[in-house]
């Protein structure tokens, strides 16, 4: 598959959080990520960068 994968950026490190993300929903207390299987994860972070040709979304902690 090649939906977007979401990573948390910590300095130079990129930590994979969720693969095959279908929905990214900003919430009051973070960002809700939902993959194509319906699996959800709330991350206390904000979007840092999206490189959609590479299917990557980078978050950083708040």
């Amino acid at each position: 598959m090649c939906e977007a994968n979401v990573y948390l950026k910590k300095g130079q490190e990129e930590i994979l959080l969720v693969e095959n993300v279908d929905r990214v929903v900003p919430q009051e207390d973070g960002i809700l990520l939902e993959d194509i299987f319906g699996r959800r994860k709330l991350v206390r972070a904000k979007i840092k960068e999206m490189t959609l040709v590479d299917h990557k979304i980078f978050l950083e902690e708040v």
Binding site: M1, C2, N20, I36, F37, G38
Partner: protein, 138 residues
Amino acid sequence: MRIMVIDGQGGGIGKHLTEKIRKGLGPEVEIIAIGTNSVATSLMLRAGANDGATGENAVIQNADQVDFIVGSLAVIVAHSMLGELTPAMAEAVGKSKAKKILLPINRSGIEIVGTMAEPLPHLIDALVERLRKEMPHV
């Protein structure tokens, strides 16, 4: 032509499959939505399925009553979908004489060599096209 769409958990994949099959192949195709839970069944019914049912026995009773079974690879993997897809369901699908046209996606750690890394909508479009080939009059 009768097509069984099987999905579980949130039902999102089944919903998209049902929508695109209905849109692509028209109203004469009969879509039977079988969910491993009622949420998935309900979502597929709202997406345009003609009929729907939920659970293990629904899969067992209907698997041989359709021409095609579509869904993700998980529908032939016992204990997939966080355990919602029971061994009896996987057996019923496997034993069915219906042609199985499946999306090469799953959460069971199974990788299919030779498949393209495509976004889900593209995979679903390809599945609908594959069904269309079986229906020259559509």
